[in-house]
Structures are given as structure tokens and as C-alpha cells.
């Protein structure tokens, strides 16, 4: 049994989960998302990473960004290093892709607000 806190929504259910021969048993969740979370957490924990990147615009020197979906938890610091090398120079809208996460993992990094603001 592993004790987990579900991070899917603000309720934060306290889960007890166990994976035996690929079969998941979970208690403590109050919705189906809790099961999905527990499965991922026991096999390949995933997180959304939020940060910011530099821009070439002194009026708004940093642009907030996040990964489009979740990425493997273990890849977070690698993605941070990737983001440290990114500079935004073109106008963007909230949700536009800034960079791909290849080769670290699948997915993209998107802007979380319009640029310039």
C-alpha cells in the first residue's frame, strides 16, 4: 500500500493504492480521476511543469509558460534547463507553442498569456 495525495483537483483526496501484477486497487478517492492518478503515480508519475522564459522585450522580460500536458515527473529539471535557453522574440497568443520538449519527452511548452502583454 502506498499513501498518495491526489493532485487532480483542489479536494486532494488521500488515497491508498497498490499495484499487484498490473492490477490496481485504490481506496480513498471520490471520483474516477483518483484511480487514473494512482495508476500513473505508481507506474510513471506525471506532472505539469510551470515556469517562465525570457523574452527580448524589456517591457515584459519574462513570459509565463507551462507544459501543454503532463510530463514525467523525473524530467522536470531537464525541462527547466531547456527553458533556460529559450528566448521569445515573436508575438504569441496564450496557448501558442513555444518549444517542443523533444528529445527530453513528448509534448510542448505553451505560453500561458499573450505576448507582448
Amino acid at each position: 500500500m502506498t499513501n498518495l495525495i491526489c493532485i487532480t483537483c483542489p479536494i486532494g483526496c488521500a488515497l491508498q493504492a497498490e499495484l499487484v501484477d498490473g492490477k490496481l486497487s485504490v481506496t480513498g478517492h471520490s471520483c474516477p480521476r483518483g484511480e487514473d492518478f494512482a495508476r500513473a503515480e505508481l507506474t510513471n508519475p506525471m506532472r505539469t511543469l510551470c515556469s517562465n522564459v525570457r523574452t527580448n522585450n524589456p517591457a515584459c522580460p519574462l513570459l509565463p509558460v507551462r507544459t501543454q500536458g503532463e510530463i514525467p515527473k523525473a524530467a522536470m529539471m531537464d525541462v527547466m534547463r531547456l527553458l533556460a535557453g529559450v528566448t521569445v522574440t515573436q508575438p504569441l497568443q496564450c496557448g501558442d507553442v513555444i518549444t517542443s520538449l523533444e528529445p527530453i519527452c513528448d509534448g510542448n511548452v505553451i505560453a500561458t498569456c499573450d505576448f507582448p502583454f
Binding site: 498518495l4 495525495i5 491526489c6 493532485i7 487532480t8 483537483c9 483542489p10 486532494g12 488521500a14 471520490s30 506532472r47 505539469t48 511543469l49 510551470c50 515556469s51 517562465n52 525570457r54 522580460p61 519574462l62 509565463p64 509558460v65 507551462r66 515527473k73 522536470m76 529539471m77 527547466m80 496564450c94 496557448g95 500561458t112 498569456c113 499573450d114 502583454f117
Partner: protein, 415 residues
């Protein structure tokens, strides 16, 4: 250069944006006043995600959540004044006279109704009795967040965080991601003050220790912070002599609570609820005829989704506000086990209203009962209730006949 409008909204954060949009949707002329250069309020610096799960069914980053409202705002004809500071507000035959300070000069606005969406501020080191030196390196989590996320500067390389509020835990993660070392998060209470998911994803994920029943009592070092003194606290949260230990750090980041910012509203001498530290409001956020308050200025929320909801309700109500003779009210009282319940009163007649409350102490399975006299209006069973988590119950009053002075009591019974 005076402005006449139906509704003036003070504050362009999540509550103010929602209020302005909702008022405009009702067909009102709306003036939105923001003191910063950009709309969005504190969401601008909240680059982390988790916003909007209830409202949009998605986990959005703070700026992204704000952007949705900003995009909606573009579709309206709301007049927006940024970098505009409200200096004074006074009653006026046209409603309210608002004195504005702008970079172009002084301006006046006249509004039939005013919505206060002025947010909240953080408690400071002095307010929680941290003694010792006053070096550089002691700052609130909100300031640390501004420095990190807006200005791109690290406030410290070895940080101690006091208070396990959400902002504190989120900053612990953020600073760790940016290369700082977080020595630990210290919390004077026996349980974390923020959401459980933040304990998991901000602290556990990064192996940041959370020390409960401990607080910072002193700062060492000058001119820069060198260490803090940590002490265990008793059940009254008072430091226990002899338990002091020294933890080296170059920054102390405080996440020790938020206080609704109502200094402007207080100049109008409206009653302030000593528990929420926001004004006494009805279900529309109305404080007194023509004055509305919403979002964290009314009481500190833990989810922006609720802030937006209260903004929408207040904005819509302000838009349709007309002077009424002798509004009748029923009172809402925080009963057994309840820290506070808002709204504090209900304008009659009432329909369906969201009622927000916090419990006084951590409870297991329990039932919340809302009643007037012996009549139960609503009840709801919870698996667990915690003071840091605000709860919301939709209260349908359309079938209930209430009269002036009736007292609605919210209470919680452990099961």
C-alpha cells in the same frame, strides 16, 4: 475630465474582471479601475497551474486563467483605466464620487454603484512577532513570487519558508526549480495551512521537509540574513523555551496569512466582520446601498474560481442596482464549530445563493446543518473538514419564507 458611469469596479484582478464583465453583460456602462499597469491582479505572478478546475474543468496557470477573462473583456465596451489609483470615495447625489490619481492628472468618476474588488494583502514578519535583526532577505511569499516570476530574480539561494499556506508551498517548489535550496517549510499549526495537493506536488515531489508545530522566532545576521531561530510551539502557538534551534539561510519567506484589503471601503465607515476582516455583505456582495464587495476583499478564498463567482454575482447585482426603500434582511450566524459564514446577511426575498464557510477546527466525518429556528434549510455530510479549506453550499431559499431579523444558523456536527 470626469467620467459618469453606472458601475465602477475598483480592482482589475480576478474578482474585478468577473464583476466588470458580468455588469457589462447586464447592459450597464462599466468603468474598471486598476492601479497597476496591467490587468489580472495577483494572477499575473501566479505562473503555477491549478486555477479554474471548477470553472473551466481545466488546470490553468494563473496568467492563463486571467487571459480568459481579458479575452472576454475585449468583447465588451467596458471603459478601462489602468495605472489609476482611487484616492477617495464619497457619497454624491449621482451615487458615488470617486477621486482618481492617474499619470495624466486627477480625474473624477461618478457611479451609481461601486464594486470593491480590492483583494488582500499579506501578513508581515512584524505582525507575527519575528524578532532579532532586520536584515535584507526577509520577505513575504507574494513579494518573493513577484521578484521570481515577474522580475526574474532569485530572492535567496538558501531559503526558509515560514507558513504552509499555498503561496508558501508553491514558492518552495518554484524556488527549487530555479536552483535555490529550500531548507524547509515551518508551520506553527499541527496541520498544513494549504491544500493537500500542494503538500504533495510542491513539497513531497522535491523532498522539501515540512516541519509542523514549529515557527521562526528570530532573525540573525546583518546586513543580510544569515540564519533564523526555529522554536517548537505549544497548543496556543507560543514558542516553547529551550526548543530553539538555528537554521542557516539567506532568505526567510513568509506565507503566514492574508488580510482582506478594505482600507478604502473602511473610510466609508461600513461595518467590518472581525473574523473575515471583510465588510458585512449580503448574498449579492452588497455592503450598503450601492456599495458592493467581492473576491478576497470580502473574505479570503482559497480558490480563484470562487473569487470569480463572487465577482460575477456582485457585478450583476451592481448593474441592476436601483435605490430601494427599506431593504429587509435575515442574518446568517456562524454556529457551533463554524469559524465564519458569508454572506453575513441575506436580502429578502432570496432565491438560490452560494454560502461559503470555514470550520473552526479539523473534523472527520461530520454534517453541516443550516437552519432557521427549528426548520432545517439544508444539510450536507462531509468526509472531512479542515479550517484552511473553504466550503460552499448552494442554499435554496425560494421555498422558505424569511422575515426581517430571522437568524439562519450554520453549524457542524461531528458524526
Amino acid at each position: 475630465m470626469s467620467i459618469q458611469t453606472n458601475v465602477a469596479v475598483i480592482g482589475g484582478g480576478p474578482a474585478g474582471l468577473a464583476a466588470a464583465i458580468a455588469a457589462a453583460k447586464q447592459g450597464a456602462q462599466v468603468l474598471l479601475i486598476e492601479r497597476e499597469a496591467r490587468l489580472g491582479g495577483i494572477l499575473k505572478q501566479c505562473v503555477h497551474d491549478g486555477f479554474g478546475v471548477l470553472r473551466f474543468g481545466e488546470k490553468l496557470a494563473g496568467p492563463e486563467y486571467a487571459q480568459r477573462f481579458l479575452n472576454e473583456l475585449r468583447q465588451t465596451n467596458i471603459q478601462i483605466l489602468t495605472q489609476t489609483f482611487v484616492d477617495k470615495i464619497k457619497p454624491h447625489p449621482l451615487g458615488w464620487k470617486i477621486n482618481l490619481v492617474t499619470a495624466q492628472g486627477m480625474r473624477q468618476a461618478f457611479a451609481k454603484a461601486v464594486v470593491f474588488a480590492t483583494g488582500c494583502r499579506e501578513r508581515t514578519a512584524r505582525q507575527i512577532g519575528i524578532h532579532g535583526t532586520r536584515p535584507a532577505g526577509v520577505l513575504t511569499a507574494g513579494s518573493a513570487q513577484f521578484f521570481t516570476n515577474i522580475l526574474g530574480q532569485l530572492p535567496g539561494r538558501r531559503c526558509v519558508i515560514l507558513g504552509s499556506g499555498d503561496i508558501g508551498m508553491i514558492m518552495a517548489r518554484r524556488l527549487t526549480l530555479e536552483g535555490a535550496q529550500v531548507q524547509g517549510v515551518y508551520e506553527a499549526r499541527g496541520t498544513p495551512s494549504g491544500l493537500p495537493r500542494n503538500v504533495a506536488q510542491c513539497l513531497h515531489d522535491f523532498n522539501i521537509p515540512l516541519h509542523l508545530r514549529k515557527t521562526v522566532t528570530r532573525c540573525f545576521g546583518y546586513p543580510r540574513l544569515e540564519a533564523v531561530e526555529i522554536a517548537s510551539v505549544d497548543e496556543h502557538m507560543q514558542p516553547i523555551a529551550g526548543t530553539e534551534e538555528r537554521v542557516d539561510c539567506d532568505a526567510l519567506i513568509l506565507s503566514v496569512g492574508l488580510i482582506p484589503e478594505n482600507e478604502l471601503l473602511e473610510t466609508l465607515r461600513v461595518p467590518i466582520d472581525p473574523v473575515t476582516r471583510g465588510p458585512v455583505c449580503d448574498q449579492y456582495g452588497m455592503v450598503e446601498p450601492g456599495l458592493f464587495c467581492c473576491g478576497n476583499a470580502a473574505h479570503v478564498n482559497d480558490l480563484v474560481d470562487y473569487v470569480s463567482e463572487s465577482g460575477e454575482i456582485a457585478g450583476a447585482a451592481a448593474a441592476s442596482y436601483t435605490e430601494q426603500p427599506e431593504q429587509q434582511h435575515a442574518q446568517i450566524t456562524a454556529g457551533q464549530g463554524i469559524m465564519y459564514a458569508v454572506p453575513q446577511r441575506i436580502a429578502l426575498p432570496a432565491q438560490e445563493i452560494p454560502l461559503y464557510f470555514r470550520v473552526k477546527e479539523e473534523l472527520g466525518k461530520s454534517r453541516v446543518v443550516i437552519r432557521v429556528g427549528e426548520t432545517v434549510l439544508a444539510k450536507k455530510t462531509y468526509l472531512a473538514l479542515r479550517p484552511p479549506e473553504m466550503e460552499r453550499i448552494m442554499l435554496d431559499l425560494s421555498q422558505t419564507t424569511l422575515q426581517e431579523g430571522d437568524e439562519i444558523t450554520v453549524e457542524v456536527q461531528p458524526l
